[in-house]
């Protein structure tokens, strides 16, 4: 068991170094007085990228199958994975928080914080333990292979655990707003504890299910004997754009609705009270309703962009054999998600307006509020995928982009002049298009088949 844990950290040491530096930097950020960031930063969802996320990277490469051929028991592998993805990361992050916070207190002689160093570290440990524990539990229930061939029960199960995974990351950013002495807070606390403990016991199921997956074997499913009309209708480029657009809209709306509802339940009452007290009315700008949580919106955009465009990035090789020029394909990869995200943004704005009983923000105002910039930044994700392929570097870079984008939106909200934000957004979008076209033409190395990040993709590939 010790060897498996050590092997995990030996292989991912550089991600850990990056994560720890970022975690320490965020802890320093929370020590800056008069910014109110201490509360906001009391729980970073960073831990999840060092826990279940790294484990998933291993799982998608068939690590379970390889490990079970070693002289170790199923139970030993399961326990080792839990410690590597939950137990040890929670402790490590808490220690870093405690040390950084302590040093900052000594340097700045800050005494205004209500919580002692040990309290801050313990608070961080608990937040991360729950976050890592719940996400680990979610991973144990996620489909071991691409869900496309699954029946409806498996799909429901996959969707449930998928929502739990995504929701726990998003929801944990609201950790500061959870009052564990209220009934709602106690229920959340109880659920998180139960799921964390369940994760420990379900780890063996995870190992078993993942070890049963062979990279090139088909997903189980029934053969469809009924005549199908799905081959009919328009195809070609229009069908490609339509498919990308529909997937983005569907997933984007789903995520944004989820976030709006979470905010509506947990943040809105408090925000409305403050807003009413300060201005006499609820903010006239519904999008401002997200307040400091605008980073959440950015995070969701990038999340949707990253995980939907990956599906298409897996098909670049096939798409490059079609009579589509590199410029058109680059355009489809950069501009289709951009338009889809703008539609999602406006739709969520309408939803927020409906919840907060205000009139929706006009598109021009939303752009003036700097909403185009985070979406523009998200258009760099397809470029990253085409440039570097679907590998560890890409995943880590995407995650860093997600995190820095989200925190950047929080810290820089309202601080960048509109014209700079607009010009930067346009430059990034044009740059993404030019870079995507260049990388599509430049080399096929990145979209050669390689170690599978998704069960159904083939292994190997020649030169």
């Amino acid at each position: 068991m010790k060897k498996i844990i050590l092997d995990h950290f030996r292989r991912w040491w550089w991600v850990w170094v990056l994560g720890c530096i970022l975690h320490a930097a965020l802890t320093v950020g929370m020590c800056i007085p008069n910014k109110g960031h201490y509360q906001a930063m009391s729980a970073f969802p960073l831990g999840v990228f060092l826990g279940a996320f790294l484990l998933m990277m291993d799982l998608q490469r068939g690590h379970a199958r390889a490990l079970l051929t070693m002289p170790v028991t199923l139970k030993q592998v399961a326990r080792a994975w839990w410690w590597a993805a939950v137990g040890l990361p929670a402790v490590a992050l808490a220690v870093i928080t405690g040390i950084t916070f302590g040093i900052m207190c000594l340097i700045t002689f800050v005494t205004h914080h209500q919580m002692p160093v040990i309290g801050v570290a313990a608070n961080n440990w608990m937040a991360n333990l729950f976050l890592l524990g719940v996400t680990f539990f979610a991973v144990t229930g996620m489909p071991a292979r691409n869900n496309a061939g699954a029946d409806w029960k498996q799909k429901v199960r996959g969707a449930f655990f998928g929502v739990l995974y995504g929701g726990s990351i998003g929801g944990w950013m609201l950790y500061k707003d959870i009052n564990f002495t209220t009934p709602t807070g106690m229920i959340i606390f109880l659920m998180a504890t139960i799921l964390t403990v369940f994760g420990w016991f379900r780890a063996e199921i995870l190992v078993m299910e993942r070890a049963a997956v062979r990279p090139s074997s088909p997903a189980p499913g029934k053969k469809n004997s009924t005549p199908s009309r799905c081959a009919e209708g328009h195809g070609g480029m229009f069908f490609l754009i339509q498919t990308i657009f529909a997937r983005m809209i569907w997933m984007g709306l789903w995520m944004m609705t989820f976030m709006v509802l979470i905010f509506g339940i947990m943040v809105f009452p408090k925000f409305a009270a403050i807003s009413t007290r300060t201005h006499g009315v609820v903010s006239a700008d519904p999008f401002d309703f997200f307040g400091g949580g605008n980073g959440m919106v950015v995070f969701q955009f990038m999340w949707v962009m990253a995980f939907q465009i990956v599906v298409f990035a897996m098909h670049v090789r096939f798409l490059r054999t079609m009579p589509i020029s590199a410029a058109k394909l680059a355009g489809a990869f950069v501009f289709t998600p951009l338009v889809a995200m703008l539609v999602v943004l406006y739709a969520s704005n309408l939803l927020v307006a409906a919840i907060s009983h205000t009139s929706p923000t006009m598109p021009a105002t939303m752009i003036a509020n700097g909403c185009l910039l985070p979406i523009a930044i998200a258009t760099t994700i397809p470029v990253l995928l085409i440039w570097r392929g679907i590998g560890t570097f890409t995943w880590v870079a995407m995650m860093l982009l997600l995190i820095t984008g989200a925190f950047g939106a929080v810290f820089l909200k309202g601080q960048i002049p509109v014209w700079i934000s607009l010009i930067a957004a346009l430059l990034i979008i044009i740059g993404s298009f030019v870079a995507a076209k260049y990388f599509l033409e430049c080399s096929s190395t990145t979209y050669r088949p390689r170690a599978s990040q998704f069960g159904g993709w083939n292994w190997g590939g020649g030169r």
């Binding site: 189980p220 053969k223 195809g235 098909h315 079609m322 020029s325 590199a326 020649g462």
Partner: protein, 294 residues
């Protein structure tokens, strides 16, 4: 009108750890052309460059008199690529993948597509994720053949296929080229199949072209020579002579019959030279191992 379907001249592609070329290949119109070579030889890179997947550092590629970069879209209208590497899963169902590809090709042959679907036991409503490895390759072939391409490029099409599926794939391929109007470029490790079906063959190793020509002529050109040395005579590689292995005084070498290698051996004291005819696979192994054996 050029009589060659594909002409590659002085092609070079540099990677940090590998260089393809300079490479010259000529695929005649109507030929079944086998491209063989060990893993990492540069076969897929060469094929990728034909399809504009990557930029060559030097040289030219012309396909049906079209430049592979300047006329990329026109070229892809007339050429098709088949490989088990291609991933169609984003379309969900077989029918949707067909719908997507059909949209690009005005000459798409629906009747032939239906015929192939029947032959390959594929159904439009079937989920791509549930297809076996072989069925995915068949789908790739179906999508290529139904557009009636003038050039068909196949990269390891039979990898992972069982004997029955392999036979099915080749039978459809032969049907597709039987009128001689279609050219096939096939890269494969199935050397028995290449020897049987390909009328031309080229072998690449380490990014360089080792051999190119008609399959029967190439196979006929080389012989495996077994001989003995006397008085401790030593033999080394030279033009037309590739030493494969040595056990004390017993030597095995590959001889190019168009060279003076046999007379050279005799003049240097080689005794009891026996020549054996090689298969393409034997030849491939001998040439691929050259450099490792000594």
């Amino acid at each position: 009108m050029n009589s060659n379907a594909i002409e590659i001249r002085g092609l070079v592609k540099n990677y940090p750890t590998f260089t393809l070329g300079p490479l010259d290949l000529t695929v005649p119109c109507g030929a079944i052309y086998g491209l063989i070579g060990p893993n990492g030889a540069g076969k897929t890179t060469a094929i990728d460059l034909i399809f504009g997947m990557g930029k060559n550092d030097a040289g030219t590629i012309r396909v049906l008199d079209l430049d592979h970069h300047a006329d990329e879209v026109a070229l892809k209208q007339r050429a098709a690529y088949v490989s088990p590497d291609l991933n169609f899963q984003v379309w969900g169902k077989v029918g949707k993948a067909i719908r997507f590809v059909r949209g690009f090709f005005p000459n798409w042959d629906d009747a032939y597509c239906a015929e192939l679907m029947k032959a390959f036991h594929l159904d439009a409503g079937e989920k791509i994720a549930t297809l076996s490895f072989g069925a995915k390759t068949k789908l790739s072939l179906l999508l290529a053949l139904s557009r009636r391409p003038e050039i068909l490029v196949l990269d390891e099409p039979t990898t992972g296929l069982d004997a029955v599926s392999k036979q099915q794939v080749f039978s459809e391929l032969l049907k597709a080229v039987e009128n001689g109007e279609r050219t096939v470029l096939i890269s494969s490790h199935g050397l028995t199949d290449i020897e049987r079906f390909a009328d031309h063959v080229a072998m690449i190793k380490g990014g360089k072209l080792l051999l190119e020509g008609r399959t029967d002529e190439i196979v006929d050109r080389f012989r495996l020579a077994e001989f003995f040395s006397v008085n401790g005579a030593k033999f080394e590689n030279r033009t037309g002579l590739t030493i494969l292995r040595r056990t004390e005084d017993r030597w095995h070498a590959l001889i190019d019959q168009t060279s003076d290698a046999q007379s050279f051996l005799e003049s240097r004291g080689a005794k009891d030279i026996s020549l054996t005819r090689l298969t393409l696979e034997d030849l491939f192994i001998a040439l691929a191992k050259d450099g490792e054996a000594k």
